[in-house]
Symmetry: C2
Subunit: 321 residues, 2 copies
């Protein structure tokens, strides 16, 4: 039975990854690590997935070393990170340090344990592309990177470190630039769930119209359903080429205003937006749309779930919380 | 009187920077910080430079914060770093963490102290260019970066972080990609001083020929005299454009074999080299030659000291040690 380590285990991507493996019916021994325990029940994935949860601070080099030496994973799905761009502007040093150090601690522990066949998925972000002009869309993986936030720089650094470890030591690290993903169970601090929550509040107050405060809703992002994302991660862990970077994206752009309209439509209310300047990020890039041609060509993956279904499922999930 | 903070104060670049300021006769109040005290005498720069030395570990966020808040520098010459590529292969996590964290601690301390006019010179490296083909020489600053060592990735990360801090917060950070610099007082662990030392040993043993073990001596580097380098750093701190990256290089390539021949010639011996495979670095790039056109165009700087003079002065300095 394959041994899979998942970091950031308590997050929503991990949960969908487990759902995906369970649906495939592939047996795994899973070690899930996170600072906080998950809100879902690991036991519900038995008998297909035998899951153990451990509370580990991945900044603790010694604990990470002991954990890897003990569990000896075949596969590592490294999801843990501070993933808020806004937070990275408030705490640039902490965010940068956290994200790069936990990746290096893991990679060094795998190397120190001599697990040179262990395949590690290192998740990057579309934010790495940063300042690019609109006529350069869709973004391909060989595009020059212009990261414009401390978060994005940390992601670029993680990716470059991974490549160096692949080329210098022959490690088996797979790399993604994952575009904005969303889906059920996503933390409500993220942009789309926060829109849904506030628009549901308008509806639940019995009103047919209302206003929400937002950042710049004219920015365009390439949204992809988390269930498509985890399918890509699984394919990459199985068959991706180490050291290669793969966009995980839908290949289409949507303004935040468009997402709000779609949610409002599904909830049967009208929503106006008001810009709160404190929510507009310094140096934010206006349009990000990716090309998923590379991963389609190499692994046959493409996004399949339409935005409307994603938003509907998110609403249902939030109504049941 | 301007207040200048120098990190990596005990290193050879700092010493040449002080020599340069003293020769200009410009009065500064200098706070020099390093882990170890300098081997030179800070008092010898009085009365032009009023220097205080402090032993500070720049990884200590609180101490760095207190030091900056107390000294309130107008200028920061940030030279401190682990600067050995070889060491970064042995300790990738430690090297990456050290170099990025000390930079962020400094920058965050300057911002926290409200010193938004403080100009910080962040030193990068030609290693950032990494894997480039020989027909792309000389390298210009807008070249895509392919760092091939943990050290190089740390330098790219530091540069990208600095740009983000300039664009996001309006900080005044100047950026260099400094090519291989050398000169008197350089630590003998570095490549050229280590060549000189071993060739001097052959001469001092009364022999007219000998053999030294080396890495790959066919690699080509763009060597620049440290005294030219500090002149560029001073110009950049005065007049460089924040957020812009400047190559500091000679614009000419020289094989390591060529440097060895020049040293051997100056010392009157014949030297054979033998490749020690343990000294050949994984993924090392074969040729690095820079273009100094940008800094020449903007600030009128170019390297002026010929290799022969640099090597002669290094030999004299090592003979007097």
């Amino acid at each position: 039975m394959k041994r899979l380590l998942i970091t950031g285990f308590s997050g929503f991507v991990s949960r969908h990854y487990l759902d995906h493996l369970k649906a495939k019916g592939e047996a795994y021994q899973v070690l899930g690590v996170d600072v906080n325990p998950p809100k879902f029940s690991p036991e519900s994935y038995a008998p297909v997935l035998q899951i153990e949860f451990m509370s580990v601070n991945l900044l603790d080099e010694e604990k990470v070393g002991a954990m890897i030496a003990d569990f000896r994973p075949d596969l590592v799905l490294h999801l843990a990170s501070f993933s808020s761009v806004a937070y990275s502007w408030e705490h640039p040093a902490e965010c940068f340090h956290n994200n790069t150090k936990i990746f290096l601690n893991l990679a060094e522990a795998v190397r120190a344990a001599g697990l040179m066949e262990c395949r590690i998925l290192s998740v990057g972000s579309s934010e790495e592309y940063g300042n690019v002009s609109e006529d350069e869309m869709p973004l391909r993986e060989d595009r020059k990177l212009y990261p414009v936030s401390p978060y994005a720089v940390a992601r670029v650094a993680q990716e470059m470190l991974a490549k160096v470890l692949v080329e210098g030591y022959g490690m088996k690290i797979l790399l993604t630039r994952s575009f904005n993903h969303m889906g059920p169970y996503q933390d409500q601090r993220f942009v789309v769930p926060s829109f849904i929550k506030r628009i549901m509040e308008i509806r639940d107050a019995g009103r047919t119209e209302g206003e929400i405060e937002t950042g710049d809703v004219s920015i365009v992002r390439d949204f992809v359903d988390v269930r498509d994302v985890v399918r890509a991660y699984d394919l990459l862990l199985q068959n991706g080429t180490p050291g290669e970077v793969y966009n995980i994206c839908g290949g289409k752009g949507m303004t935040l205003r468009g997402v709000i309209d779609e949610i409002a439509n599904l909830l049967g209310v009208e929503v106006k937006t008001k810009t709160d300047p404190s929510l507009v990020r310094p140096g934010d890039n206006h349009v990000i749309i990716g090309s998923s041609e590379k991963i389609f060509r190499e692994l046959g993956w493409e996004a399949t779930i339409p935005l409307e279904k994603t938003l509907k499922d998110m609403i249902v999930s939030m109504e049941n919380e």
